[in-house]
Symmetry: D2
């Protein structure tokens, strides 16, 4: 922690800051420049991070030196973490593809799509039973019935299932039917939910919030790990910017940055990220080239009748073609698909 004082800070103010730092059991090193004094704080930075030093008289700025996240950081674990979803491992050299419809709509739909995506090469089945919708008047998902249909589709295909959790009180029932929990972008800082999934035995895919920085995302993951659940994947799914042509701005910069900062696997969701069906393939390929460990891509066998997000779902044959291209790029960057 580095504290810089104002040009007009008095000696008493500076001494007061130094005294406080010592009270907290830390060491203060004072450097005097022409206009400002710089106080370096040595020791357990956590102790001091929470203190409102910026509120002290005479202080101009406070800059942390250490990162606020620990368990998710490479400094805690040097090697790449592997997350198992059913019998599929994410984080290895294989680029894992998760696929399925936005929402589970009925038994026939989900099983049929599950068969299609499996045949095309998907390894994990996605499908929403509890749906976060911006309008209360649109389809809210089938709930528990949807979970049961997902479990049946798993039985029919062998694909493990990932589905979204929106409320702490649904954890138990979702654990009964699914293989992996998804925390959506809108709940990325729903800290009650993060703590709850941190106590689950299931792996968790945490999606980046629309206005969350990479650091915010890592801090939210830290909540889950700090409760004991280390089986966490991070998912880039588009941020909100001024650009309106695309639904969101898929931020592929986050991929190499996350790979550097954390040992957790990184997933990219180009479907929500760009939100325009015709451009999803290029973004999927770019995500793999940027270093993503997995992709999540929505597929529907009749987008025109889909109950949600039909305009951004690929058709099964488009998806199959994309999987082949993903494999080619994955090999070009030295990994399988």
């Amino acid at each position: 922690m580095i504290i810089v004082t104002k040009p007009d800070a008095t000696e008493e103010q500076i001494q007061h800051v130094v005294d406080r730092i010592k009270e907290w059991g830390l060491k203060a090193e004072v450097s005097r420049g022409a206009q400002r004094v710089v106080i370096g704080v040595i020791g357990q930075e956590d102790v001091i991070r929470e203190k409102p030093i910026a509120a002290m008289a005479g202080v101009e700025s406070v800059t942390p030196v250490l990162k606020p996240y620990k368990l998710v950081a490479h400094e805690f674990r040097q090697t790449q973490s592997l997350v198992k979803v059913g019998d599929v491992t994410v984080g290895n050299s294989e680029v894992v593809i998760m696929s399925g419809p936005c929402s589970v709509e009925n038994r026939e739909q989900i099983t049929s799509i599950a068969r299609d995506v499996k045949q095309a090469g998907a390894r994990i089945l996605r499908g929403g039973a509890f749906k976060p919708r911006t309008s209360p008047y649109t389809f809210q998902g089938l709930g528990i019935d949807g979970l049961k249909m997902l479990a049946e589709a798993r039985e029919a295909t062998g694909l493990p299932v990932i589905t979204e959790i929106m409320d702490t009180k649904d954890l138990e029932v979702i654990e009964k039917y699914a293989d992996c929990l998804q925390v959506g972008a809108r709940n990325m800082q729903n800290f009650s939910l993060l703590k709850e999934v941190g106590r689950s035995k299931l792996p968790v895919m945490l999606k980046r919030g629309m206005s969350a920085t990479v650091k915010d995302l890592l801090m939210s993951a830290e909540y889950i790990l700090s409760e004991g659940n280390f089986n966490v994947m991070l998912c880039e799914r588009g941020i909100r910017t001024f650009e309106t042509y695309t639904r969101n701005t898929l931020d592929l910069n986050a991929v190499p940055v996350l790979k550097k900062e954390t040992h957790l696997p990184v997933v990219v969701d180009p479907t929500h990220g760009i939100g325009l069906r015709e451009h999803i393939p290029q973004m999927a390929l770019a995500a793999v080239a940027a270093g993503a460990d997995a992709l999540m891509i929505e597929v529907h066998n009749n987008p025109e009748l889909a109950k949600s997000d039909g305009e951004q779902a690929l058709m099964p044959d488009e998806f199959a073609e994309l999987v082949a291209r993903v494999r080619a790029v994955a090999q070009a960057v030295g990994r399988g698909a």
Copy 2:
């Protein structure tokens, strides 16, 4: 709803769109331009809003004509809604000031601050018992003990109490001790929570998410009203932009825009909005000039020792001075304070 076709759309594609619209019980009016065909959809737009028309072959763009929100709109209720928090009314000509510390820290602290802010002119007491913190390693609030202390501070001062709810399972206990629920920015699209508070008998203050548009905020409020709770206030508290000098960018544009779009009262929180203690007064005054119905301002009697957000809390005497200036501006724009 207005549908524009691609320049190369075929007659079959256009006819298919028109047929679907009629199947849904709506009327389609087709206008043919030199390059594109425009299809106007007349009738209950809700029916069609959810349909993935953009997924249909030959469609270039789909533009809604009607607004997606209803109960919150002025078209539903022409007159300004009044929301009662205890015996205090928000939405009248008086600019109501809510104040108190970021977090409840102990009995003495909250009661003492409550007395200070009451004397200065605050009408509602704020204080966090359940705290949404970006780091799992910082103070998470006193929970139920904090609620009890708030209730005691209310008893000591007569000020009704507003406090944040973060989890559906906490509703019952918060209802027991508080007079108004706050849904924080990070939970603005926690739809499970919105539905739950929509079933509460307490009024709700809904804070705008950091990357939520005005329309998103209104849609989230619509969730609460659609469950039967019409006692909702909307709170602008700063959005996330590229500017890093301030903690957030308080978006005062939202004040006149919300006053035009909705009958619900509008609150502004300059404390979190700009996040810099010395600049909070000007933003509070500007909020009143822009038309805010209420202000929420954090006060602490010892910011240097505050357990959260001390660097942006006003001291009681600074707050008292600000209240006087707020009154002057409120009068200048034709309302009380």
Copy 3:
């Protein structure tokens, strides 16, 4: 300047950084923490600011301590600067109002509007002769003819004239007819133009770019002052965010922040800032409450026929009403109007 090293930085790397700092004639103070070494650099920070220290092996981050701007800073000049436009002073207790149409369209139009706004209380006449338009196919301004019409309107009313400069080669002719130069948002980082107006004898109003931070704006102003022209006003006119309801997001947070950082007067342009005619008055009032020294507001006597931006121009009577309200708020915050 504070340099933090990576956890795995070697002693050689650290020594290399220290050696370089000494070569540049500065002093390096080294503090060793558990995981990282912090090197404080004492001396003329300018010398080092330009050096690519972050490119050195073993360096994790570099944080400047001093601000990169000098002449615009309060540390250079403690007192508020006054800028004279013709015989009107901006920066005093009076809130100065600049007004006029977006574009000069013809002699009759500009003179008539000039008379209207003068009568309502405007002190400076604005009007575009060279127009920055996003499309090459829309009205580009009358050029020199427009300048002459502005000069005639000045003669008719006595109001000094501000107009936009878009190209270094137009400086001479604009200096002949106008009293103040405006550098538009899109040219805020047109450094050739900044240097050129820095050598002019006319005062300059520099508008904030749509994605410029407060610091960027101050650095652009520094260009002008560093060429010798200290008669500079800064203008907040809306930034670009994710919000699409309003044309831009008028960032009133910039007002108190600029007042703190610089001695230059601060102007607010609510017309472009929010871009919706009906909401301009509230934002104008809020700007004054936030501390603006001047306002720039577009007025047209026939918005429906305006050649540019008609949808955001006030009618003369609306403007006159607004001026009265501006005066009331100005008085409430302790200044004239």
Copy 4:
């Protein structure tokens, strides 16, 4: 153009809008819904685009149907445009790499780097002689001397040269020494400069502004084409968002979107886009996978001593390694490199 009226619009207001449309020589088709009237405008939309219809009484919203750009659009030219820089063609199946230092610093530096990048596989040499710097106190480039050194480096290596133009008055001298003009992000809406380079015989690379939408970029390119210069390349170089970890947010979504909207070649600059040396390679590979026609990558042989942007320049050997990886990805997506 589609005009939607307010719920309370009167018949007179609606008729007035219709009359105006007819005056302008266009056809108006009126559709009446339950709450609002929709007026479709058929005919040359350009005529009406500039009219302030939104300023008319009773109008709620105005939505254009046609795109505002013409010459840059695929509707104007179906085939991919090829742009020749010296004897190098951009827009073919080969992914062209442009490389060189941020600034020309001296004769030895630029020639040596030119040799290095040529040997590694670069086809075009970049180097700044006129430098847009945010601070007036940092290195501003060598100007004409820098241009001469670039020309010498071209002679030594055969690589054609691209360099930035910042001021209309420099066009003549730059045309004398360079093969391609670069308009930088900060000048993307310097319309005087756009018109000037539109009259040049040299090709132009236009960089996207930091807060420019894809549509804004296309409109700026339209300025150049409308002056007669069709040899234009568009360059994505990072936009400004709330994320501060990276210098900018390289927006690869723009690549497929631009490829769809325009026939002009698309270049990606990962160096400025992410701004962190260690992450440039992954973003370069991702750009190629997303469909970029060319890459611009900064290289310096001694980043630690570079006069600008040293922290984001690759070393020649890092660059050579990257070129090989770019080739592998280019082949995987079906093109050469």
